[in-house]
């Protein structure tokens, strides 16, 4: 809660340092300064900053924020856009996990083999290549050359025809997934490598377990702890990846909304969106922490004290 409040303060005041205002963008060339000032009054842009900040928080909490530019309600905009971005980022994340976990493990356990070397090299390339370029490449191969998949635009009927909607998301999701997998493969690989070097793995192997059985029985759970942290970060990243990728594919999702709002200085929309994304990332982080504690009970120590205190209170109450 406190991080969210701090984030709101930073988001609000940092945005105010940017040059440009929505009124001028809205009115365009040919209008007078009086008209500009009048519109600023109507939009509340002439109020003191603190008043504007309070107004924004109030609008955010009560859900009554509207776009300065189009007058559309923030809630409606987000729900409609999220119906593209959320499935897109989940698809990308799922593909990335399905690809990178096995590849990461294989490239660690078989690191001396050709396959391991190949996966390792491919992931290096994947990390270095810009995400928009991957998108352009996929479009030119799978849409323009082969004609298998649409090059962009989300069906106008939205999810009424789920098949069409999914088809529209395949290439963008792959684009994000390729970039994400490249990063994740490297993390999974190094976590598994760390585990392979531990004493208990050596002990297990000396007791006659094969490397893979030892890994399955004892290693993976430990290797998973750092990997879960990365998965959390990457889940957030998949949302941010959507910002770039939606533009390349002409998908009207949250990313494009953010981009167009920034260009037109539609401050309420930018602020709300960034705050919302911050909240989502904070929630993901909290979930990651819980998951890590479940995987490795040793991590509970610092938080354990707090928990014990709460428990004892309730015991007193009972």
């Amino acid at each position: 809660m406190i991080s969210l409040f701090l984030a709101s303060v930073i988001i609000f005041f940092v945005l105010r340092m940017l040059p440009g205002d929505a009124s001028a963008t809205l009115l365009g060339v040919g209008t007078t300064e009086e008209q500009l000032d009048q519109l600023r009054d109507e939009l509340g842009a002439n109020e003191p900053l603190v008043v504007q900040y309070a107004q924004w928080l109030k609008d955010f909490v009560t859900g009554s924020s509207v776009s300065l530019i189009s007058g559309s309600s923030f809630g409606e905009l987000v729900i409609q856009r999220a119906s593209i971005t959320v499935p897109l980022s989940l698809m990308a994340f799922t593909i990335a996990v399905l690809v990178s976990l096995p590849l990461g493990i294989v490239s660690a356990t078989k690191r001396t083999s050709a396959l391991g070397a190949f996966v390792s090299a491919a992931s290096q390339v994947g990390v270095a290549v810009p995400i928009f370029w991957v998108g352009i490449l996929l479009i030119s191969i799978f849409s323009l050359q082969l004609g298998w998949l649409p090059a962009g635009t989300f069906p106008r009927q939205g999810w009424d025809d789920p098949g069409e909607a999914l088809r529209a998301l395949i290439l963008p999701a792959l684009t994000i997934a390729i970039a994400m997998s490249a990063v994740m493969v490297r993390y999974v690989r190094s976590s598994v490598l760390d585990v392979l070097e531990t004493d208990y793995m050596r002990t297990a192997q000396s007791l006659g377990y094969s490397q893979s059985r030892a890994l399955l029985r004892h290693g993976l759970r430990n290797a998973a702890v750092p990997v879960v942290a990365i998965l959390g970060i990457e889940l957030g990243t998949s949302l941010l990846g959507a910002v770039v990728v939606e533009n390349v594919f002409g998908l009207g999702g949250l990313g494009q909304l953010l981009l167009s709002s920034v260009t037109s200085r539609d401050l309420p929309i930018i602020q709300n969106l960034v705050l919302l994304l911050t909240a989502v990332v904070l929630i993901i982080n909290a979930l990651v922490e819980i998951l890590q504690q479940w995987l490795d009970p040793r991590l509970r120590v610092p938080h354990g004290r707090r928990r014990r205190l709460r428990v004892s209170k309730s015991q007193v109450g009972a």
Partner: protein, 494 residues
Amino acid sequence: MSAALVLGACSNASNDDASPNEETSTGQIADEVIVGSTNEPTTLERNVGGSSGISEALTRNVFEGLTSINDEGKVENTLAETIEVSEDGLTYTFTLQRDVLFHDGTPLTSADVAWSVNEAIGPNSLSARASDLRVIQEIETPDDRTVVMHLDHASASLPFFLASVTIVKDGDKENNSENGTGPYVLDEWVQGDHLTMVLNDDYWGEPAKTPVITFQFFTDETALNNALQTGAVDLVIHQESPDQLATFESNPDFVVTEGDSIKKWVWTFNNKEEPFTDERVRQALYKAIDREALLTAVWGEYGEVIGSMPPVSEPWFDASFADIHAYDPEEAKALLEEAGASGLTTDITYVAGGTEEIIVQQLRANLADIGVTLNLVPVDDSAWYEDVYTNKDYETTLMNHNNPRDVLWYANPDFYWQYDNAQVQELAVQADSAASEEEQVELIHSLSDIIAHEAPSAWLFMAPQIRIADASVSGFSASKNAEPFYVGNLVKEG
């Protein structure tokens, strides 16, 4: 390269009277045409600023004015059946078309016209044309079909300016009113994605041809072109990426058209800022630019070099203006020396983007040849409006201007280029109250001639109007001489 011209005439002229449903059942034309554009309306409020997105998609299609500007740039009557002007030019009497219905079924009356015009000229109007229209002193409505406007001075441009005032229902206080009289009814606008309009079955005039028209919006040119290539859109109305033209030109599945545009690339000097207060400096910088080479670098064989603000399609255009400050680096150097500004260093503030980058690089190279250093200051749209347009805090700037008859902005000393010339201002006033059209043309030509010599800005070139359509699509004008994109004749076969 000669471009094909695709105009209204199409194969289904014989069954124009058939209802759209019958037409589609014969399999002749498609139910829907999808128009791809990067110019999305920012709002559906009709009278806000220049709002070129809303006028492009909705004016003439969903909303109509008393007059409109047709695809050739000529003013014609629309909701006004006749316009009578009094001897002294101070009274305009409009007789409205019969049997016009709003989309909600109520009939159009003179009261609706009076209300809509008053809204556009009222003290709270945010319309960019408000000051041009404030020549209207009073509006009378003697009967339901007659509107009388009394002016405070004669204004030959009134019918032109009235084309930007779209008529909605009297007292319709909704800013996002969609209750117009046009051949199409607005169906839905999903911001950031698309806008759909459907046929108005009770349209008073010639009915439109395709049941559903969708404008599909893009922020990225490449995404738009890909969508055309894969059939997700049928027509791209502004091709802004010259480098992607070749793909379409060589493909028989597409038709590339070139027409007149009103899009001028203008490099403007801050005329109140040293050293640009000295006309010799402005002229020198203008002469240093090889505009032919610049145009070729950006558009290949398309487009046209100009030497003053008016575009080719306006009656006061003069091709010889382009030679006044023709490319001459030696003379440019001499002029700079004379003005004591040799070795000048200055900034150019511009909105970062594809075409802009090519232009500023060329400008910088040309200026380096005469010993002038140009610092590039890329900004985004919003920052440009604040720094350059509103605060006039800049040295030189690059902008493309896309409004009809905007040469008259040089008569406004408060406009962002801060050019203050009493003679130009006087000519603009005279032109507005000119007795005849010939006289008006003559006066604006003189005005354009003065600015062409004094060079408050350097007019670089006119961008071509290039549209690319799927070969099955016809019924659109190649030229863009006004803001609206009329879709009433648009059809897609098959």
